[in-house]
Protein backbone atom coordinates (compact mmCIF):
# COMPACT_ATOMS: atom_id res chain seq x y z
CA UNK A 1 0.00 0.00 0.00
CA UNK A 2 1.26 3.45 -0.83
CA UNK A 3 2.01 5.54 2.23
CA UNK A 4 2.26 9.28 2.21
CA UNK A 5 5.17 10.94 4.03
CA UNK A 6 2.83 12.78 6.38
CA UNK A 7 1.23 9.42 7.20
CA UNK A 8 4.57 7.96 8.19
CA UNK A 9 5.32 10.88 10.48
CA UNK A 10 1.89 10.72 12.01
CA UNK A 11 2.11 7.00 12.63
CA UNK A 12 5.53 7.55 14.17
CA UNK A 13 4.10 10.11 16.57
CA UNK A 14 1.23 7.78 17.48
CA UNK A 15 3.68 4.96 18.16
CA UNK A 16 5.68 7.21 20.45
CA UNK A 17 2.60 8.21 22.44
CA UNK A 18 1.43 4.62 22.74
CA UNK A 19 4.85 3.54 24.00
CA UNK A 20 4.85 6.37 26.51
CA UNK A 21 1.46 5.29 27.86
CA UNK A 22 2.61 1.69 28.06
CA UNK A 23 5.78 2.78 29.86
CA UNK A 24 3.78 4.58 32.51
CA UNK A 25 1.79 1.45 33.28
CA UNK A 26 4.99 -0.57 33.44
CA UNK A 27 6.60 2.03 35.71
CA UNK A 28 3.67 1.91 38.13
CA UNK A 29 3.82 -1.85 38.16
CA UNK A 30 7.58 -1.79 38.70
CA UNK A 31 7.24 0.74 41.50
CA UNK A 32 4.63 -1.37 43.27
CA UNK A 33 6.78 -4.44 42.86
CA UNK A 34 9.92 -2.85 44.33
CA UNK A 35 7.99 -1.40 47.25
CA UNK A 36 6.24 -4.70 47.95
CA UNK A 37 9.39 -6.73 47.46
CA UNK A 38 10.72 -6.73 51.06
CA UNK A 39 7.42 -8.15 52.24
CA UNK A 40 6.23 -10.30 49.38
CA UNK A 41 9.49 -12.11 48.69
CA UNK A 42 10.66 -12.62 52.24
CA UNK A 43 9.61 -15.04 54.94
CA UNK A 44 6.58 -12.74 55.45
CA UNK A 45 5.09 -13.40 52.02
CA UNK A 46 3.06 -16.42 53.08
CA UNK A 47 1.57 -14.46 55.96
CA UNK A 48 -0.84 -12.82 53.54
CA UNK A 49 -2.84 -16.01 53.51
CA UNK A 50 -1.87 -17.88 56.68
CA UNK A 51 -2.09 -15.31 59.46
CA UNK A 52 -5.12 -15.26 61.69
CA UNK A 53 -6.16 -11.70 60.96
CA UNK A 54 -5.05 -8.43 59.39
CA UNK A 55 -3.54 -6.66 62.36
CA UNK A 56 -0.39 -4.85 61.23
CA UNK A 57 0.49 -3.41 64.66
CA UNK A 58 0.99 -6.95 65.97
CA UNK A 59 2.64 -8.08 62.76
CA UNK A 60 -0.29 -10.05 61.39
CA UNK A 61 -1.09 -9.62 57.73
CA UNK A 62 -3.93 -11.86 56.58
CA UNK A 63 -5.26 -10.24 53.42
CA UNK A 64 -7.94 -12.83 52.66
CA UNK A 65 -10.85 -11.07 54.43
CA UNK A 66 -10.02 -7.87 52.58
CA UNK A 67 -9.74 -9.65 49.23
CA UNK A 68 -13.08 -11.32 49.94
CA UNK A 69 -14.54 -7.94 50.91
CA UNK A 70 -13.46 -6.56 47.53
CA UNK A 71 -14.86 -9.53 45.63
CA UNK A 72 -18.16 -9.53 47.52
CA UNK A 73 -18.79 -5.81 47.08
CA UNK A 74 -17.81 -5.92 43.41
CA UNK A 75 -19.79 -9.02 42.49
CA UNK A 76 -22.73 -7.81 44.56
CA UNK A 77 -22.73 -4.35 43.00
CA UNK A 78 -22.40 -5.71 39.47
CA UNK A 79 -25.21 -8.22 39.99
CA UNK A 80 -27.48 -5.49 41.30
CA UNK A 81 -26.56 -3.00 38.57
CA UNK A 82 -26.64 -5.29 35.53
CA UNK A 83 -30.37 -6.10 35.48
CA UNK A 84 -31.26 -2.45 36.01
CA UNK A 85 -28.84 -1.20 33.36
CA UNK A 86 -30.01 -3.81 30.87
CA UNK A 87 -33.67 -3.24 31.52
CA UNK A 88 -33.47 0.54 31.32
CA UNK A 89 -31.31 0.39 28.19
CA UNK A 90 -33.83 -1.89 26.49
CA UNK A 91 -36.69 0.27 27.67
CA UNK A 92 -35.11 3.50 26.43
CA UNK A 93 -34.10 2.05 23.10
CA UNK A 94 -37.22 0.05 22.23
CA UNK A 95 -40.23 1.06 24.28
CA UNK A 96 -39.93 4.61 25.52
CA UNK A 97 -40.73 7.60 23.34
CA UNK A 98 -37.70 9.17 21.73
CA UNK A 99 -37.71 12.25 23.98
CA UNK A 100 -37.71 10.08 27.09
CA UNK A 101 -34.71 8.12 25.90
CA UNK A 102 -32.83 11.33 25.25
CA UNK A 103 -33.78 12.83 28.61
CA UNK A 104 -32.87 9.66 30.46
CA UNK A 105 -29.50 9.52 28.72
CA UNK A 106 -28.67 13.07 29.78
CA UNK A 107 -29.71 12.35 33.36
CA UNK A 108 -27.43 9.30 33.36
CA UNK A 109 -24.60 11.41 31.96
CA UNK A 110 -25.00 13.86 34.83
CA UNK A 111 -25.10 11.05 37.39
CA UNK A 112 -21.99 9.51 35.86
CA UNK A 113 -20.18 12.78 36.43
CA UNK A 114 -20.90 13.04 40.17
CA UNK A 115 -17.74 12.45 42.23
CA UNK A 116 -17.70 9.24 44.21
CA UNK A 117 -17.29 11.04 47.52
CA UNK A 118 -20.76 12.52 47.01
CA UNK A 119 -22.22 9.06 46.56
CA UNK A 120 -20.34 8.01 49.67
CA UNK A 121 -21.66 10.93 51.65
CA UNK A 122 -25.21 10.25 50.52
CA UNK A 123 -24.74 6.60 51.48
CA UNK A 124 -23.44 7.57 54.87
CA UNK A 125 -26.22 10.02 55.65
CA UNK A 126 -29.18 8.25 54.09
CA UNK A 127 -28.46 4.62 53.41
CA UNK A 128 -26.51 3.67 56.52
CA UNK A 129 -29.29 4.75 58.94
CA UNK A 130 -31.84 3.09 56.69
CA UNK A 131 -30.03 -0.25 56.74
CA UNK A 132 -29.34 0.17 60.46
CA UNK A 133 -33.04 0.55 61.14
CA UNK A 134 -33.45 -2.84 59.50
CA UNK A 135 -30.52 -4.74 60.97
CA UNK A 136 -27.00 -4.28 62.26
CA UNK A 137 -25.00 -1.09 62.44
CA UNK A 138 -25.81 0.00 58.92
CA UNK A 139 -22.22 0.28 57.78
CA UNK A 140 -22.11 -3.06 56.05
CA UNK A 141 -21.52 -5.12 52.95
CA UNK A 142 -25.12 -4.49 51.86
CA UNK A 143 -24.74 -0.72 52.09
CA UNK A 144 -21.49 -0.91 50.18
CA UNK A 145 -23.09 -3.02 47.46
CA UNK A 146 -25.99 -0.60 47.13
CA UNK A 147 -23.85 2.52 46.93
CA UNK A 148 -21.40 0.89 44.56
CA UNK A 149 -24.14 -0.41 42.28
CA UNK A 150 -25.66 3.05 42.19
CA UNK A 151 -22.29 4.44 41.20
CA UNK A 152 -21.66 2.06 38.31
CA UNK A 153 -25.26 2.12 37.13
CA UNK A 154 -25.14 5.39 35.11
CA UNK A 155 -22.09 4.53 33.03
CA UNK A 156 -23.24 0.94 32.77
CA UNK A 157 -26.60 2.06 31.41
CA UNK A 158 -24.97 4.49 28.99
CA UNK A 159 -22.67 1.78 27.68
CA UNK A 160 -25.59 -0.64 27.34
CA UNK A 161 -27.61 1.94 25.42
CA UNK A 162 -24.60 2.61 23.20
CA UNK A 163 -24.26 -1.12 22.56
CA UNK A 164 -27.92 -1.37 21.54
CA UNK A 165 -27.61 1.70 19.35
CA UNK A 166 -24.79 0.05 17.45
CA UNK A 167 -27.06 -2.71 16.18
CA UNK A 168 -27.63 -1.80 12.51
CA UNK A 169 -31.10 -0.39 11.99
CA UNK A 170 -31.61 -2.61 8.92
CA UNK A 171 -31.71 -5.65 11.17
CA UNK A 172 -34.21 -4.07 13.50
CA UNK A 173 -36.37 -2.82 10.63
CA UNK A 174 -36.06 -6.15 8.87
CA UNK A 175 -37.33 -7.90 11.94
CA UNK A 176 -40.26 -5.54 12.42
CA UNK A 177 -41.11 -5.86 8.73
CA UNK A 178 -41.48 -9.62 9.24
CA UNK A 179 -44.21 -8.88 11.75
CA UNK A 180 -42.10 -9.83 14.75
CA UNK A 181 -42.89 -8.22 18.05
CA UNK A 182 -40.56 -5.87 19.84
CA UNK A 183 -39.64 -8.52 22.33
CA UNK A 184 -38.93 -11.09 19.61
CA UNK A 185 -36.72 -8.51 17.91
CA UNK A 186 -34.88 -7.67 21.11
CA UNK A 187 -34.41 -11.30 22.08
CA UNK A 188 -33.36 -12.66 18.71
CA UNK A 189 -31.57 -9.73 17.14
CA UNK A 190 -30.75 -6.76 19.35
CA UNK A 191 -29.37 -8.64 22.36
CA UNK A 192 -27.25 -11.19 20.48
CA UNK A 193 -25.91 -8.49 18.17
CA UNK A 194 -25.00 -6.22 21.06
CA UNK A 195 -23.83 -8.95 23.44
CA UNK A 196 -20.22 -8.11 22.82
CA UNK A 197 -20.73 -4.45 23.73
CA UNK A 198 -22.75 -5.47 26.78
CA UNK A 199 -20.00 -7.74 28.05
CA UNK A 200 -17.53 -4.95 27.46
CA UNK A 201 -19.67 -2.64 29.59
CA UNK A 202 -19.90 -5.26 32.32
CA UNK A 203 -16.16 -5.83 32.53
CA UNK A 204 -15.35 -2.12 32.45
CA UNK A 205 -17.80 -1.40 35.25
CA UNK A 206 -16.44 -4.32 37.26
CA UNK A 207 -12.97 -2.81 37.06
CA UNK A 208 -14.45 0.46 38.22
CA UNK A 209 -16.17 -1.26 41.15
CA UNK A 210 -13.03 -3.11 42.19
CA UNK A 211 -11.00 0.07 42.26
CA UNK A 212 -13.59 2.33 43.88
CA UNK A 213 -12.27 3.60 47.20
CA UNK A 214 -13.88 6.63 48.74
CA UNK A 215 -17.56 5.78 48.66
CA UNK A 216 -16.97 2.22 49.79
CA UNK A 217 -14.69 3.36 52.58
CA UNK A 218 -17.41 5.68 53.86
CA UNK A 219 -20.24 3.15 54.08
CA UNK A 220 -18.73 -0.31 54.54
CA UNK A 221 -17.63 -0.19 58.17
CA UNK A 222 -14.09 -1.30 57.26
CA UNK A 223 -13.77 -4.21 59.67
CA UNK A 224 -10.94 -6.54 58.73
CA UNK A 225 -12.76 -9.59 60.05
CA UNK A 226 -14.03 -12.23 57.68
CA UNK A 227 -17.31 -11.00 56.21
CA UNK A 228 -20.01 -13.55 56.94
CA UNK A 229 -23.21 -11.75 56.13
CA UNK A 230 -24.79 -8.92 54.21
CA UNK A 231 -25.21 -6.87 57.37
CA UNK A 232 -21.66 -7.17 58.57
CA UNK A 233 -18.98 -4.57 57.96
CA UNK A 234 -16.32 -5.29 55.36
CA UNK A 235 -13.14 -3.67 54.16
CA UNK A 236 -11.99 -3.60 50.56
CA UNK A 237 -8.43 -3.63 49.25
CA UNK A 238 -8.58 -0.06 48.05
CA UNK A 239 -10.14 1.19 51.29
CA UNK A 240 -7.50 -0.73 53.23
CA UNK A 241 -4.72 1.09 51.42
CA UNK A 242 -6.36 4.48 51.78
CA UNK A 243 -7.00 3.95 55.48
CA UNK A 244 -3.55 2.76 56.51
CA UNK A 245 -1.09 4.27 54.07
CA UNK A 246 -0.80 7.50 56.06
CA UNK A 247 0.81 5.85 59.09
CA UNK A 248 2.18 2.59 57.74
CA UNK A 249 5.90 1.94 58.29
CA UNK A 250 8.39 -0.64 57.10
CA UNK A 251 6.82 -4.13 56.85
CA UNK A 252 3.30 -2.78 57.19
CA UNK A 253 3.99 -0.39 54.36
CA UNK A 254 5.38 -3.13 52.16
CA UNK A 255 2.38 -5.29 53.01
CA UNK A 256 0.08 -2.52 51.84
CA UNK A 257 2.02 -2.30 48.59
CA UNK A 258 1.55 -6.03 48.24
CA UNK A 259 -2.19 -5.57 48.62
CA UNK A 260 -2.03 -2.87 45.94
CA UNK A 261 -0.33 -5.41 43.69
CA UNK A 262 -3.11 -7.90 44.38
CA UNK A 263 -5.66 -5.24 43.45
CA UNK A 264 -3.80 -4.43 40.28
CA UNK A 265 -3.61 -8.09 39.33
CA UNK A 266 -7.38 -8.40 39.81
CA UNK A 267 -7.95 -5.43 37.52
CA UNK A 268 -5.50 -6.86 34.99
CA UNK A 269 -7.39 -10.14 34.98
CA UNK A 270 -10.60 -8.30 34.14
CA UNK A 271 -8.93 -6.24 31.43
CA UNK A 272 -7.36 -9.37 30.05
CA UNK A 273 -10.78 -11.06 29.95
CA UNK A 274 -12.07 -8.02 28.11
CA UNK A 275 -9.25 -8.22 25.57
CA UNK A 276 -9.78 -11.94 25.25
CA UNK A 277 -13.44 -11.59 24.45
CA UNK A 278 -12.68 -8.77 22.00
CA UNK A 279 -10.24 -11.11 20.31
CA UNK A 280 -12.81 -13.90 20.27
CA UNK A 281 -15.35 -11.54 18.80
CA UNK A 282 -13.09 -10.33 16.01
CA UNK A 283 -12.00 -13.84 15.03
CA UNK A 284 -15.64 -14.92 15.02
CA UNK A 285 -16.42 -11.97 12.75
CA UNK A 286 -13.46 -12.74 10.55
CA UNK A 287 -14.73 -16.25 10.07
CA UNK A 288 -18.35 -15.35 9.51
Amino acid sequence: MYRHKVDIKFVGLLRLLVMLAACIVLLIFGFLLTEAWPFLFSEHGGQLFTDAVWHPTTGQYNLVPVILGTLYTTIGAVSVAVPFALATAIFCQFYAPRWFGRLYTSVMEVLAGIPSVVYGFWGLVVLVPLVASWQGSGASLLTGILVLSLMILPTGTLLAIAALKQVPSEWIQGSYALGLSRWATIKNIALPASGHGMLNALLLQSTRAIGETMAVLMVCGNSTLFPFGLFEPVRTLSANIALEMAYAMEMHRAALYSSALVLMVMVFILLFLNQFQNRLESTANGKS
Binding site: R98, P168, S169, E170, W171, I172, Q173, G174, S175, Y176, A177, L178, G179, L180, S181, A184, N188, I189, P192, A193, K287, S288
Partner: protein, 282 residues
Protein backbone atom coordinates in the same frame (compact mmCIF):
# COMPACT_ATOMS: atom_id res chain seq x y z
CA UNK B 1 -39.52 -27.20 -15.38
CA UNK B 2 -38.06 -27.57 -11.93
CA UNK B 3 -39.49 -24.20 -11.16
CA UNK B 4 -43.08 -25.16 -11.74
CA UNK B 5 -42.55 -28.29 -9.64
CA UNK B 6 -41.38 -26.12 -6.82
CA UNK B 7 -44.34 -23.81 -7.15
CA UNK B 8 -46.70 -26.75 -7.21
CA UNK B 9 -45.27 -27.94 -3.96
CA UNK B 10 -45.58 -24.52 -2.44
CA UNK B 11 -49.27 -24.42 -3.23
CA UNK B 12 -49.88 -27.97 -1.98
CA UNK B 13 -48.52 -27.66 1.51
CA UNK B 14 -51.10 -25.31 2.86
CA UNK B 15 -51.29 -26.07 6.55
CA UNK B 16 -53.82 -24.64 9.00
CA UNK B 17 -51.65 -21.61 9.62
CA UNK B 18 -51.77 -20.83 5.88
CA UNK B 19 -55.53 -20.53 5.88
CA UNK B 20 -55.31 -16.76 5.82
CA UNK B 21 -53.83 -17.21 2.35
CA UNK B 22 -57.05 -18.63 1.06
CA UNK B 23 -59.12 -15.62 1.94
CA UNK B 24 -57.48 -13.94 -1.03
CA UNK B 25 -55.18 -10.97 -1.36
CA UNK B 26 -56.50 -7.49 -0.56
CA UNK B 27 -56.36 -4.38 -2.70
CA UNK B 28 -54.26 -1.44 -1.57
CA UNK B 29 -55.62 2.00 -2.10
CA UNK B 30 -53.54 5.05 -1.35
CA UNK B 31 -55.34 8.37 -1.00
CA UNK B 32 -53.90 11.84 -0.65
CA UNK B 33 -50.81 10.47 0.97
CA UNK B 34 -48.13 12.92 2.01
CA UNK B 35 -44.90 12.25 3.85
CA UNK B 36 -42.22 14.45 5.31
CA UNK B 37 -39.02 13.76 7.20
CA UNK B 38 -38.65 16.37 9.91
CA UNK B 39 -40.29 19.18 7.96
CA UNK B 40 -38.66 18.16 4.68
CA UNK B 41 -41.49 17.16 2.37
CA UNK B 42 -40.73 14.04 0.35
CA UNK B 43 -44.11 12.89 -0.96
CA UNK B 44 -47.37 14.70 -1.58
CA UNK B 45 -50.75 14.00 -3.12
CA UNK B 46 -50.10 10.32 -3.72
CA UNK B 47 -53.20 8.68 -5.16
CA UNK B 48 -53.26 5.28 -6.72
CA UNK B 49 -54.51 1.77 -6.34
CA UNK B 50 -52.72 -1.57 -6.32
CA UNK B 51 -55.37 -4.02 -7.43
CA UNK B 52 -55.92 -7.24 -5.53
CA UNK B 53 -53.91 -10.16 -6.90
CA UNK B 54 -52.10 -8.01 -9.43
CA UNK B 55 -48.59 -6.69 -9.83
CA UNK B 56 -48.24 -2.95 -9.59
CA UNK B 57 -44.87 -1.54 -10.54
CA UNK B 58 -43.74 1.70 -9.00
CA UNK B 59 -41.16 3.40 -11.16
CA UNK B 60 -39.47 6.76 -11.03
CA UNK B 61 -36.12 8.49 -10.68
CA UNK B 62 -33.84 7.90 -7.71
CA UNK B 63 -34.76 9.80 -4.60
CA UNK B 64 -38.38 10.49 -5.55
CA UNK B 65 -39.62 8.63 -2.48
CA UNK B 66 -40.52 5.14 -3.71
CA UNK B 67 -38.94 3.34 -0.78
CA UNK B 68 -40.51 5.80 1.61
CA UNK B 69 -43.90 5.12 0.04
CA UNK B 70 -43.50 1.36 0.50
CA UNK B 71 -42.52 1.83 4.13
CA UNK B 72 -45.83 3.56 4.79
CA UNK B 73 -47.81 0.57 3.58
CA UNK B 74 -46.49 -1.70 6.34
CA UNK B 75 -46.11 1.16 8.81
CA UNK B 76 -42.37 0.73 8.96
CA UNK B 77 -42.46 4.50 8.65
CA UNK B 78 -43.45 4.50 12.32
CA UNK B 79 -39.84 3.80 13.16
CA UNK B 80 -38.57 6.87 11.35
CA UNK B 81 -38.93 10.43 12.51
CA UNK B 82 -41.38 11.15 9.73
CA UNK B 83 -44.86 12.54 9.46
CA UNK B 84 -47.43 10.78 7.32
CA UNK B 85 -50.76 12.23 6.26
CA UNK B 86 -53.58 10.89 4.12
CA UNK B 87 -55.02 7.39 4.01
CA UNK B 88 -53.86 3.96 2.99
CA UNK B 89 -56.57 1.35 2.68
CA UNK B 90 -55.77 -2.33 2.66
CA UNK B 91 -59.03 -4.09 1.85
CA UNK B 92 -61.46 -2.08 3.99
CA UNK B 93 -59.12 -0.81 6.68
CA UNK B 94 -57.28 2.47 6.83
CA UNK B 95 -54.01 1.13 8.12
CA UNK B 96 -52.73 4.56 9.08
CA UNK B 97 -55.37 4.69 11.81
CA UNK B 98 -53.68 4.69 15.19
CA UNK B 99 -55.83 1.82 16.46
CA UNK B 100 -54.52 -0.60 13.84
CA UNK B 101 -52.65 -3.58 15.24
CA UNK B 102 -49.33 -2.99 13.53
CA UNK B 103 -48.03 -6.46 14.32
CA UNK B 104 -50.98 -8.14 12.65
CA UNK B 105 -50.74 -5.74 9.74
CA UNK B 106 -47.08 -6.54 9.17
CA UNK B 107 -47.82 -10.24 9.35
CA UNK B 108 -50.07 -9.85 6.32
CA UNK B 109 -47.44 -7.88 4.45
CA UNK B 110 -44.08 -9.17 3.35
CA UNK B 111 -41.30 -6.80 2.42
CA UNK B 112 -38.05 -7.26 0.58
CA UNK B 113 -35.75 -4.34 1.16
CA UNK B 114 -33.73 -2.54 -1.46
CA UNK B 115 -30.63 -3.28 0.58
CA UNK B 116 -30.55 -6.96 1.52
CA UNK B 117 -30.73 -7.33 5.29
CA UNK B 118 -30.04 -10.88 6.41
CA UNK B 119 -29.76 -11.18 10.16
CA UNK B 120 -26.39 -11.89 11.77
CA UNK B 121 -27.06 -15.58 12.22
CA UNK B 122 -26.87 -18.75 10.18
CA UNK B 123 -28.69 -19.10 6.87
CA UNK B 124 -30.98 -21.67 8.47
CA UNK B 125 -31.78 -19.50 11.49
CA UNK B 126 -32.56 -16.54 9.27
CA UNK B 127 -35.62 -18.42 8.09
CA UNK B 128 -36.36 -20.57 11.11
CA UNK B 129 -36.44 -18.04 13.90
CA UNK B 130 -39.22 -15.91 12.39
CA UNK B 131 -41.15 -19.10 11.66
CA UNK B 132 -40.77 -20.19 15.26
CA UNK B 133 -41.99 -16.80 16.41
CA UNK B 134 -45.03 -17.39 14.20
CA UNK B 135 -45.63 -20.67 16.04
CA UNK B 136 -44.50 -23.11 13.36
CA UNK B 137 -43.07 -26.26 14.90
CA UNK B 138 -41.29 -29.53 14.24
CA UNK B 139 -40.80 -31.01 10.78
CA UNK B 140 -42.74 -28.19 9.22
CA UNK B 141 -39.80 -25.89 9.96
CA UNK B 142 -37.22 -27.75 7.90
CA UNK B 143 -39.71 -28.34 5.13
CA UNK B 144 -40.65 -24.68 4.90
CA UNK B 145 -36.96 -23.82 4.92
CA UNK B 146 -36.19 -26.05 1.97
CA UNK B 147 -39.33 -25.15 0.01
CA UNK B 148 -38.75 -21.45 0.22
CA UNK B 149 -35.05 -21.60 -0.53
CA UNK B 150 -35.95 -23.67 -3.59
CA UNK B 151 -38.54 -21.12 -4.61
CA UNK B 152 -35.93 -18.39 -4.88
CA UNK B 153 -33.39 -20.70 -6.50
CA UNK B 154 -31.02 -20.62 -3.55
CA UNK B 155 -31.33 -24.16 -2.22
CA UNK B 156 -28.67 -25.78 -4.39
CA UNK B 157 -26.23 -22.99 -3.63
CA UNK B 158 -26.57 -23.13 0.14
CA UNK B 159 -27.86 -26.59 1.05
CA UNK B 160 -24.40 -27.76 2.15
CA UNK B 161 -23.76 -24.72 4.33
CA UNK B 162 -27.04 -23.89 5.96
CA UNK B 163 -25.27 -23.38 9.27
CA UNK B 164 -22.84 -20.78 7.96
CA UNK B 165 -23.43 -17.14 8.71
CA UNK B 166 -25.84 -15.52 6.27
CA UNK B 167 -23.58 -12.49 6.18
CA UNK B 168 -20.97 -14.27 4.04
CA UNK B 169 -23.47 -14.79 1.22
CA UNK B 170 -23.03 -12.62 -1.85
CA UNK B 171 -25.30 -9.61 -2.30
CA UNK B 172 -27.53 -11.44 -4.73
CA UNK B 173 -27.74 -14.51 -2.52
CA UNK B 174 -28.62 -12.33 0.45
CA UNK B 175 -31.36 -10.67 -1.54
CA UNK B 176 -32.86 -14.03 -2.46
CA UNK B 177 -32.50 -15.25 1.11
CA UNK B 178 -34.51 -12.26 2.29
CA UNK B 179 -37.09 -12.97 -0.38
CA UNK B 180 -37.34 -16.58 0.80
CA UNK B 181 -37.61 -15.45 4.42
CA UNK B 182 -40.41 -13.09 3.53
CA UNK B 183 -42.29 -15.75 1.57
CA UNK B 184 -41.90 -18.40 4.26
CA UNK B 185 -44.24 -16.39 6.46
CA UNK B 186 -47.05 -16.48 3.90
CA UNK B 187 -47.94 -12.83 3.53
CA UNK B 188 -50.79 -11.78 1.28
CA UNK B 189 -49.26 -8.52 0.21
CA UNK B 190 -45.71 -8.23 -1.06
CA UNK B 191 -43.76 -5.00 -1.04
CA UNK B 192 -40.70 -5.55 -3.18
CA UNK B 193 -38.13 -2.80 -3.27
CA UNK B 194 -35.99 -3.53 -6.31
CA UNK B 195 -35.95 -7.27 -5.61
CA UNK B 196 -33.62 -7.95 -8.54
CA UNK B 197 -31.18 -5.07 -8.09
CA UNK B 198 -28.28 -7.31 -7.10
CA UNK B 199 -29.09 -10.32 -9.27
CA UNK B 200 -27.49 -11.77 -12.38
CA UNK B 201 -29.73 -12.44 -15.41
CA UNK B 202 -30.29 -16.08 -14.50
CA UNK B 203 -31.40 -15.33 -10.92
CA UNK B 204 -33.42 -12.39 -12.16
CA UNK B 205 -35.27 -14.80 -14.42
CA UNK B 206 -36.01 -17.11 -11.50
CA UNK B 207 -37.24 -14.27 -9.33
CA UNK B 208 -39.32 -12.78 -12.11
CA UNK B 209 -40.92 -16.15 -12.74
CA UNK B 210 -41.54 -16.45 -9.04
CA UNK B 211 -43.15 -13.02 -8.81
CA UNK B 212 -45.29 -13.91 -11.78
CA UNK B 213 -46.44 -17.10 -10.10
CA UNK B 214 -47.17 -15.33 -6.84
CA UNK B 215 -49.37 -12.88 -8.64
CA UNK B 216 -52.79 -14.48 -8.25
CA UNK B 217 -52.40 -15.21 -4.57
CA UNK B 218 -50.66 -11.99 -3.57
CA UNK B 219 -51.09 -8.31 -4.15
CA UNK B 220 -47.67 -7.16 -5.23
CA UNK B 221 -46.32 -3.64 -5.11
CA UNK B 222 -42.91 -3.60 -6.68
CA UNK B 223 -40.38 -0.81 -7.04
CA UNK B 224 -38.06 -1.23 -9.98
CA UNK B 225 -35.61 0.85 -11.95
CA UNK B 226 -35.71 -1.72 -14.71
CA UNK B 227 -38.48 -0.46 -16.96
CA UNK B 228 -38.25 -3.50 -19.21
CA UNK B 229 -38.96 -5.60 -16.14
CA UNK B 230 -41.90 -3.44 -15.18
CA UNK B 231 -43.22 -3.91 -18.66
CA UNK B 232 -42.73 -7.67 -18.58
CA UNK B 233 -44.29 -8.27 -15.18
CA UNK B 234 -46.59 -5.53 -14.08
CA UNK B 235 -50.32 -5.33 -14.65
CA UNK B 236 -50.31 -1.70 -13.60
CA UNK B 237 -47.66 0.95 -13.43
CA UNK B 238 -47.47 4.01 -11.25
CA UNK B 239 -44.91 6.62 -12.24
CA UNK B 240 -43.45 8.69 -9.46
CA UNK B 241 -41.64 11.88 -10.31
CA UNK B 242 -40.02 14.77 -8.52
CA UNK B 243 -41.34 18.25 -8.90
CA UNK B 244 -39.75 21.00 -6.82
CA UNK B 245 -38.01 18.31 -4.82
CA UNK B 246 -41.27 16.62 -3.77
CA UNK B 247 -42.29 13.27 -5.17
CA UNK B 248 -45.76 12.60 -6.50
CA UNK B 249 -47.45 10.07 -8.73
CA UNK B 250 -47.84 11.74 -12.10
CA UNK B 251 -49.53 8.87 -13.83
CA UNK B 252 -50.82 5.40 -13.09
CA UNK B 253 -52.81 2.79 -14.95
CA UNK B 254 -52.55 -0.36 -17.05
CA UNK B 255 -48.97 -1.08 -18.03
CA UNK B 256 -49.50 -1.05 -21.79
CA UNK B 257 -51.52 2.14 -21.55
CA UNK B 258 -48.91 3.99 -19.54
CA UNK B 259 -45.95 2.78 -21.56
CA UNK B 260 -47.43 3.19 -25.02
CA UNK B 261 -49.63 6.21 -24.54
CA UNK B 262 -48.24 8.18 -21.64
CA UNK B 263 -50.68 10.94 -20.87
CA UNK B 264 -48.22 13.11 -19.04
CA UNK B 265 -45.18 14.71 -20.69
CA UNK B 266 -43.02 13.92 -17.62
CA UNK B 267 -43.93 10.24 -17.91
CA UNK B 268 -43.22 10.28 -21.59
CA UNK B 269 -39.83 11.74 -20.94
CA UNK B 270 -39.02 9.30 -18.16
CA UNK B 271 -40.28 6.24 -20.00
CA UNK B 272 -39.19 7.37 -23.44
CA UNK B 273 -35.58 6.54 -22.94
CA UNK B 274 -36.17 2.97 -21.82
CA UNK B 275 -38.97 2.30 -24.28
CA UNK B 276 -36.67 3.26 -27.12
CA UNK B 277 -34.04 0.98 -25.65
CA UNK B 278 -36.40 -1.97 -25.36
CA UNK B 279 -37.68 -1.45 -28.90
CA UNK B 280 -34.18 -1.35 -30.33
CA UNK B 281 -33.15 -4.52 -28.49
CA UNK B 282 -36.28 -6.43 -29.52
Amino acid sequence: MTKSVAFGRKLQHTTPQDISLQSGPPAISIRNLGLSYGGHKVLKNINFEARAGKITALVGPSGCGKSSLLSVVNRLSDLQACKVEGEVFIAEDNILHSAVNVLKLRRRIGMVFQKPSPFPMSIRENLLFPLREYGVKGDQLEKTLEDNLRLVGLWDEVKTRLNDSALVLSGGQQQRLCFARCLSLNPKVLLLDEPCSALDPRSTQIIEALIWHLRESHTILMVTHNLAQARRLADDVAVCCLSDGVGSIVESGKTAQVFDFPAHPVTAEYLGFETAEVRSSD
